[in-house]
Amino acid sequence: MMTAIPSGNNRQTTVEAWKDPSQEPYIRLENVTKKFGDFTAVDNISLDIFKSEFFSLLGPSGCGKTTLLRMLAGFEQPTSGRILLDGEDMSKVPPYLRPVNMMFQSYALFPHMNVEKNIAFGLKQDGVPSPEIKTRVDEVISMVQLEQFAKRKPHQLSGGQRQRVALARSLVKKPKMLLLDEPLGALDKKLRTRTQFELMNIQEETGITFVIVTHDQEEAMTVSSRIAVMDHGRIIQTATPTEIYEVPNSRYVANFLGEVNIFEGRVAENARDHVLIQSQEAGCTIRADHGIDAADGATVWVAVRPEKMYINLEAPDDPNTNCMTGQVWDIGYLGNLSIYHIKLDSGTMVTMARTNKERVVERKITWDDRVYVTWAPDAGVVLLS
C-alpha cells in the first residue's frame, strides 16, 4: 500500500533504500539502449529506482533525458535491454495500461478542452464518479493556483500557466510513478520554490515515485533523494545530492554542479590514509586525506569547492594544510557572499567564496594584495577522470 507510509518518516526510509540489498527496486533498467537510426540517444543505462524516491535526471540538452522518460512511459521501445516496473517486464505493456503518468516538456495540453476538462481527462478514463472528479480536480487546481483560469482554454493562458495545468493534469491521477519533464522551467522563482515544496509534500503524503528532469541544479539539490548526472546518453554518476556535490566521481560531475576549482597533478605518494599530489597548476604539493586507486605518477585532478578555501594574509601554521600563494585579481560582492578571483603564482586562476559575516565597510583583503589560499586536506576530492 503506497498510502500507508507515514509522512515525514518517508524521506528517511527512501534515503536508505538503495543501500539496502534486500530492497527490491521499483523501476529497474537493465542495459537499456535506444538508437534512432545510427544515433545512440540512450547508451546502455542500468539503473534502479526505489519506491517513493524523488529521483532527478540532470544533464545538458540532448543527453537523452526525455528519451529515457519516454521509454518509462512506453512511447519508445528500448532498442536493447529491459525495463522492469515492480518486477514486471514493461516491453509488452502499452502506455495507456502503465501505472505511470508523464508531464510533457511541451505540456501537450488538449487545445479543445478548458483547464478543468484537461485535468479531469485522466480521471474520466478510469471511470471515477463525477462528484469525486470534481473535488479532486478542484484540489489540484487550487494547489497550482489556477482557480480563476479553470474555464479557460490552453491558448488563453501564458506559458507558466500552461505548465501548471500540465503539472496538475499529471498529478491528479496519483499514479504509482510520475515522470516530470522539466516541470517548473517556465515558472518564476517564487512560484517555482513554492511548487517544489508542494511536490515534495505530495511525494511524502502519497509515496508516489517521482522521476524528474531538470536543468536547474539548485532544484535537483533541493527536491531529490538521488540525482543521476547524464552525458551523451550515459549516466556518469548516481548518488544523493550531498554525495554528488561533495564527492563527485569525475571532473564532468564536479563541473556540472556548482563552482569548483580543479588542479591537475601527479600522484607523488599514495598511502592508505592520504595521498600527496604534485601539482604544477596549484604550484604546490596537495595533500588529501583519503587513499585513491591510482599508481604513483598517474595523472589525477583535485577538486576543491570555492567555499571550502580560505584566504589569509599570513601563511598557515599547520604544515598539513594545503597552501598556495597568489594575488587578488578581482572581488565580486554578492550581498551574502563575496567572490574572490585569485591569480596564483603558477598562473592558474582560483575562485573562492567568503560569507560576509560582518558588514563590509572596509575590506581587510583587497585588490592586488598578496595572499595565501589554503584548504584543509579533507576539503578536496581527488578525481581519476
Binding site: 512511447f75 510533457f104 495540453l109 479543445h112
Partner: protein
C-alpha cells in the same frame, strides 16, 4: 506602408474580375428577366423560379444531385481523412514518396480519363449504372481532396497531445475520437464542403457513370441548353452558383476562423501575463 492603388492596378483588377465574374453576373441577372428571350431585358420578375419548381424533370435532377453530393462527400470525407492521417503517421518506408504522389494524382488526372476508366470498371463488374455508380465515382475523385486538406492539417499536429491522452489511460481508438478528431475537425469539415461542391457541379464524370433515369442537375442543364437556353435554366444555375459559393466560403471561413481566434487569444494571454 500600404501601396496606393495606381490607375494601372485598378484597370487590371477590374479587367481580371470582369473576365472572371461577368458571365456569371449575366446569368444571375437574366434569371430575373421577365421576358422569355434570354438576351433581351424585359423587366424584373421571379416567375422563372416558380417555373423551375414546377418543372419536374429539373427538380428530380436537383434532388438526385443533392443526394449524390451528400452521400459521396460523407464517404469521401471518412476515407480521405483516414488516408490523410496515414500519410502523415506512417513514418518513412520504401516507396513512400510514390504513395503520397499517388494520392495527388487524381487531382491532375483529366476528368475524361477518370470518367472513362470508372465506366470501364463498372461495365467489367457489370454494375448497373445509376445513383450508386455516380456516387462511387464522386467518392473516388473527391476523396483525394479531403486527404490533401487533412494531411496538411496533420503536419502541424503535435503528436504529443495524443501521447498525453494515451498516458492518461485513454486507449488509442478513444483517443482518436475524443482528442484527435475534435482538433482536426475544421479540416475535416472543410474537406466535406469541398467534396460536396465538387460533386454538385461535376458534369464529365457523372455523364460517364450515369445510367437511364439518373440524370444529375449539371447534365440536365447541359442537355437542355442544347435545345436553347431558357430563363428557367438560368434560375436553377443561379441557385447552384449560390450553393457552391456558400460551400466554398464556409469551408475557408471554418479553417481561417480557428487560427484567427487562436491568435487573438494568444495575444490576450501574453498581454495579461506581463
Amino acid at each position: 506602408m500600404r501601396k496606393g492603388l495606381s490607375p494601372f492596378n485598378i484597370v487590371s483588377l477590374v479587367m481580371g474580375f470582369s473576365f472572371l465574374y461577368l458571365p456569371i453576373l449575366l446569368l444571375v441577372l437574366f434569371s430575373f428577366n421577365e421576358s422569355k428571350l434570354v438576351t433581351v431585358w424585359g423587366g424584373f420578375s421571379t416567375k422563372w423560379y416558380g417555373e423551375m419548381i414546377r418543372n419536374e424533370g429539373l427538380m428530380d435532377a436537383a434532388w438526385m444531385t443533392l443526394k449524390i453530393a451528400v452521400v459521396s462527400s460523407t464517404f469521401a470525407t471518412i476515407l480521405g481523412t483516414i488516408a490523410g492521417l496515414v500519410m502523415v503517421r506512417f513514418g518513412s518506408f520504401r516507396g513512400r514518396l510514390l504513395f503520397s504522389g499517388m494520392i495527388y494524382a487524381p487531382l491532375v488526372m483529366p476528368e475524361v480519363i477518370t470518367g472513362l476508366s470508372l465506366l470501364l470498371m463498372f461495365v467489367a463488374i457489370s454494375l448497373d449504372r445509376g445513383f450508386l455508380t455516380i456516387t462511387i465515382a464522386h467518392i473516388t475523385f473527391s476523396m483525394c481532396y479531403v486527404a490533401v486538406v487533412v494531411q496538411s492539417r496533420m503536419v502541424t499536429f503535435d503528436q504529443s497531445i495524443e501521447e498525453a491522452a494515451l498516458d492518461l489511460g485513454c486507449p488509442p481508438m478513444r483517443t482518436f475520437f475524443t482528442v484527435t478528431l475534435p482538433i482536426i475537425m475544421p479540416a475535416v469539415v472543410s474537406g466535406w464542403l469541398l467534396s460536396f461542391t465538387l460533386s454538385l457541379d461535376d458534369l464529365v464524370i457523372a455523364s460517364f457513370t450515369s445510367g437511364p433515369g439518373s440524370t444529375t442537375l449539371p447534365m440536365k442543364i447541359y442537355s437542355s441548353v442544347r435545345l436553347g437556353v431558357t430563363p428557367e435554366i438560368n434560375a436553377i444555375s443561379t441557385i447552384l452558383v449560390g450553393l457552391v459559393t456558400v460551400g466554398v466560403l464556409v469551408a475557408s471561413y471554418v479553417s481561417r476562423r480557428q487560427t484567427l481566434i487562436r491568435q487573438r487569444d494568444e495575444r490576450l494571454a501574453a498581454a495579461e501575463a506581463t
